[in-house]
């Protein structure tokens, strides 16, 4: 089996999973409990992506002052918390990382 077949089958499976519940939940009523639980998907998934990026950069745990990504990330969290401004959060976080990397 060649790479093209792998890609096509893999692509169909990927599409199928992305489509699966969008399709099924259009056909059937979504149970109340599941609807409520689904509201926790965004904070849960996004945090599950963010934490390793901050605490585990370069594939090793690093909770120290030399972990510039952790420091920049914590400052970005504070900026987001108080300002609720997306662009400001990203810009401040990026600048802090660049400056800390220079030090």
């Amino acid at each position: 089996m060649n790479i093209w077949l792998i890609m096509i089958v893999g692509g169909l499976i990927t599409f199928g999973m992305r489509f699966s519940l969008i399709y099924l939940f259009g056909k059937f009523q979504i149970p109340e409990t599941i609807q409520r639980a689904l509201h926790y998907v965004p904070p849960a998934v996004l945090s599950a992506i963010i934490f390793p990026e901050l605490f585990h950069p370069n594939d090793t745990f690093d909770v120290s002052w030399t972990n510039t990504r952790l420091l920049a990330g914590l400052i970005a969290i504070a900026v987001a918390w108080f300002s609720k401004n997306t662009l400001l959060t990203i810009i401040v976080g990026m600048i802090v990382l660049l400056v800390l990397n220079l030090i």
């Binding site: 890609m7 965004p42 998934v45 992506i49």
Partner: protein, 232 residues
């Protein structure tokens, strides 16, 4: 139509920082795929056929070590299982759309398209044209991914992945954007607990392969949030 256009461009705008953050990964993928022995055409087409970053990286690596096709396909499936969670999460908002729209938006449903879209829905609720926001965000990332892959294939011979990220850590725009999106959602104890428990579980489960840690962590956060909400 102008209302649709407004939502479309709003989606594109929300996607911009994620496009910046995603671009180096597309380049690295392009370079890596060539290095793994894929042809230019196969490397480029994988970005539109699979259109899933992590799965593409792993596929390139498995092709390089000549893993059996079935193993590669099963790996792709496992790595992408998390998309079912995104599918479930967006489903209530997309349920009245035509099949064509559902197919189109499903194809475009990456981590980076899911995040701004669900945040928009949770904030504004379902509006008549909000699916155009999802389409704008998804399409913007799709174009970004195709172009960055092409640049990576073009520069593949000259750049290694470390070079790309050492020049400027643009990849950090991804977690930063997710931070900017998730923090304003944390409005009560249940939401905060869901986020913290999922984050901690992601660290505990960091050694699980194939993005399984992400799934375990996500379910942990969902369960913790739901239980706390019930109690209060």
């Amino acid at each position: 139509m102008s209302e649709a256009r407004k939502y479309f461009w709003e989606g594109v705008r929300a996607e911009l920082p994620l496009m910046v953050g995603g671009f180096p990964f597309g380049m690295i993928y392009g370079a890596l795929a060539l290095n793994a022995g894929l042809s230019n055409a196969a490397a480029q087409m994988m970005s539109s056929i699979l259109f899933a970053g992590s799965a593409q990286f792993i596929t390139a690596q498995l092709v390089q070590v000549a893993a059996p096709a079935l193993v590669i396909i099963l790996t792709i499936a496992v790595v992408n299982v998390r998309h079912m969670l995104y599918s479930a999460s967006l489903a209530p908002y997309l349920k009245d759309l035509s099949l064509k729209w559902k197919v189109l938006l499903s194809y475009l449903l990456t981590d980076e398209a899911y995040a701004p879209s669900i945040i928009k829905y949770e904030k504004d609720g379902l509006q008549p044209y909000s699916h155009w926001f999802v389409f704008g965000a998804g399409l913007a990332l799709w174009v970004d991914w195709q172009v960055s892959t092409a640049v990576g294939i073009f520069l593949g011979a000259y750049l290694t992945d470390n070079d790309i990220l050492q020049i400027i850590p643009l990849d950090f725009a991804l977690p930063l954007t997710f931070i900017a999106m998730v923090v304003p959602v944390l409005k009560n104890r249940a939401m905060i607990a869901a986020a913290l428990s999922a984050g901690l579980m992601a660290l505990l489960a960091i050694n699980l392969p194939y993005q399984l840690g992400l799934i375990v962590a996500a379910f942990t956060g969902i369960i913790v949030g739901t239980l706390l909400e019930k109690r209060s």
